[in-house]
Subunit: 431 residues, 2 copies
């Protein structure tokens, strides 16, 4: 057990370089905790010469990361390339086929191919770890897989995308609208040039699909996640939310329901006093609701070189100490059946905002549509008078309603002559 | 690996009975996660006949928990008796001497004898796990030991006593004073008949000593914890804290300083906007500050049958799955030296509240004492005029000051003729 653990690191971008820096700085601490030294023996990246702020000359170089995965000198493959398909997948498959444990930060890969990779790892009897794939600064994968292993979960939810949370927090604090905050975030480097992956909810959905498998011990099924992003959240909605005692957060929620497992990513109105409502800026949070532990929350940085490297390092220490666990908490052969609850069957209260021309009968028309869909209104805000031809907002909070009815009602309301914009709806999530 | 893991459970109070209920309800889930069934084979408690809401007739009964620990049918001993000395200690020592893994929820035992028990467990090559000993609903022991193993920690702090946090939260929300809230909490069962263990900070200090060893990989040293409770926090202080943008929380803090490791439990003023300021009621929270992960926070229920049973169950699943880790993160033989930072050398800003007779020269006298101790004042609140002979509060916030100077200054100020009560001081903790 005192022989060094030999790592091959594929991918030396922000995360890979950060991980090498961590290993250099923390080697003594990690060796004490792991019971043996940990050494990088080989690396692979697109450009050998790029300055990464860390010296890689001592490591064997592979132009081809797949060759690194097959290199007999490499005992553990650390995949930090990214991407659901392409070379990252081949690297992981090659490592497993060669009987090598894999540590990866690749949420897209796991969301799409997680169940298959878990099966391969199980057949080859090698660990497949991915703490860094979900909320890097939050050791939630280990918590669901081991730390809360005595529980059955009702619901696991979280703020899983730092960029979206940063934008919503800025909108909340400044009163500005989505586009102006997004532009600024891009200027500051908090949002990508093409931000759609983050703000349209895809990144959060990848992570949610992984959490679902960990919480419910079923195969990962990304295709079953209902995904909506934050593009349509307006400054007006943020202001109404505040007035109503809510905050708007992009939540990723997985939940055991009577119809199966519901996985959804969408903006939510949540009680402004709930602990997760105070998780602001680029921070991530995950709340797990177990039948014995009750509610437990984990908060930390979701991304960045340091937190992600910290997560990779934890997996490496586990491997070095020979601590094994099935990738998703139970062996793939013991997965439960995944039954996806259709989004149509979602039930909950809704916030609805309409922009209407202030004419007699407007509210009567809207109320009639809601009545026909059997949707009952808990409260309604109509305020101020507009100049002729100008629109005013009407905001409604409904009692618990089924999604299908709400969608139908909004479709009809959108066609009313007095309603001048597409109706906006934000689900209210009870926490 | 498919043979059942045979447990002996010593102690069937709230936690023990809760753990048996969890095992009964979650046996299938746990077996899937552990890779093998988990079975209780023997139990021991003071009173065999007591109704615990769970049937124990199928288990072998031991009047003597030490005999249970030595019972050859028992593979793992679960110690849920409690108490730093006496039988709980003998049970753990006997189990270890018989080569059996131990799972315990006993914070007092670990705070006092943790280093010795870890040495014994190491010598006997058996695991010693205690997730339930610190903040049951928060898997923080595993997080520090494994999930954050790539980090060196600057500071770990938390709200570790639910009773104290409940009382402070109630004082905050109701404006009532300490004694009236304590009386009510006792009536509701949230505080013990003799509440001193909780409200004087001893319980939090036990847990902190354990966290210190996990974070800094040094021997547990409870004797080095500076301990103050919440008895002297007044409704007036709560009100001033709010006015100044603070909340008052009983924090347990362990910190690497230039003088060694500082361990302290005392009421703190913290920024009202900080995430931990929103952890209210009986909830616990732990914040770990690592050099790569940055700041990460864990929140959950600190006590109660369910959360504590959940923590015990996680340890059991680890044992059943043959996942091993040194009790405090590194082998006892690899512990670093523990150098305790003296409390005298603590540095930080202070909140000071005096009750003074409103006479000319009062502030001048106080200011002179502070000047002599080289303490500089950041802000001062003196408000309202009292009727002759009646006292008014004077509140000061100091710049960063050394504890020794502050203690000396308060001693002198307390002797001024115009100061009519013992001066009250609350440390301000930067988060």
């Amino acid at each position: 057990m005192t022989a060094p653990l030999a790592l091959g690191v594929a991918g030396l971008g922000t995360v890979g370089a950060g991980f090498l820096r961590l290993l250099a700085e923390q080697s003594e601490v990690m060796a004490r905790r792991a019971g043996r030294p940990i050494q990088v023996v080989a690396v692979s990246a697109r450009d050998r010469m790029r300055d990464r702020g860390t010296d890689i000359s001592a490591f064997r170089w592979h132009d081809d990361p797949v060759a690194l995965a097959a290199d007999p000198a490499v005992a553990v493959v650390v995949e930090l390339i990214g991407g659901a398909d392409g070379v990252a997948k081949t690297v992981c498959e090659t490592a497993i086929a060669n009987g090598k444990p894999v540590v990866t930060a690749n949420k897209a890969l796991l969301a799409i191919h997680g169940a298959d990779l878990a099966k391969r790892a199980e057949a080859a009897k090698v660990p497949l770890y991915f703490e860094a794939a979900v909320a890097g600064g939050v050791p939630i994968v280990k918590a669901l897989r081991e730390g809360l292993a005595g529980n059955s979960f009702r619901r696991v939810f979280g703020i899983l995308n730092g960029t979206s949370n940063y934008i919503l927090t800025q909108m909340q604090e400044s009163g500005r609208d989505f586009q102006s905050v997004l532009d600024e975030a891009q200027g500051l480097g908090y949002a990508e040039a093409d931000p759609s992956f983050d703000i349209d909810g895809v990144d959060a959905a990848h992570k949610l699909a992984i959490l679902t498998s960990l919480a419910f011990n079923c195969p990962v099924d990304f295709s079953a996640v209902h995904v909506e992003g934050i593009r349509h959240v307006s400054a007006l909605d943020i202001a109404f939310a505040r007035e109503l005692g809510y905050r708007i957060k992009l939540l990723a929620i997985t939940q055991a329901t009577a119809n199966g497992i519901a996985q959804r990513v969408h903006p939510c109105m949540i009680d402004a006093e709930s602990p997760i409502a105070h998780v602001d800026g680029v921070f991530n949070a995950v709340v797990a609701e177990g039948n014995f532990v009750d509610r437990t929350m984990f908060v930390g940085r979701g991304a960045g070189a340091g937190p992600t490297a910290s997560a990779v390092a934890a997996d490496i220490v586990d491997l070095a100490a020979a601590r094994q666990a099935p990738p998703f908490g139970v062996p793939a052969s013991k997965f439960g059946r995944f039954e996806a609850a259709p989004m149509d069957r979602h039930r909950g209260p809704y916030y609805v905002r309409l922009m209407v021309y202030d004419r007699p009968g407007v509210i009567a028309d809207i109320a009639a549509v809601l009545r026909d869909e059997r949707i009952s209104i808990e409260s309604l805000i109509q305020r101020g008078r507009a100049a002729p031809g100008q629109a005013v907002p009407v905001v409604m909070i409904t009692h618990e309603t089924e999604e299908a009815a709400m969608v139908k009602a909004l479709e009809k309301i959108g066609h009313l002559a007095t309603v001048c914009e597409r109706p906006r709806m934000i689900r209210i999530e009870g926490l």
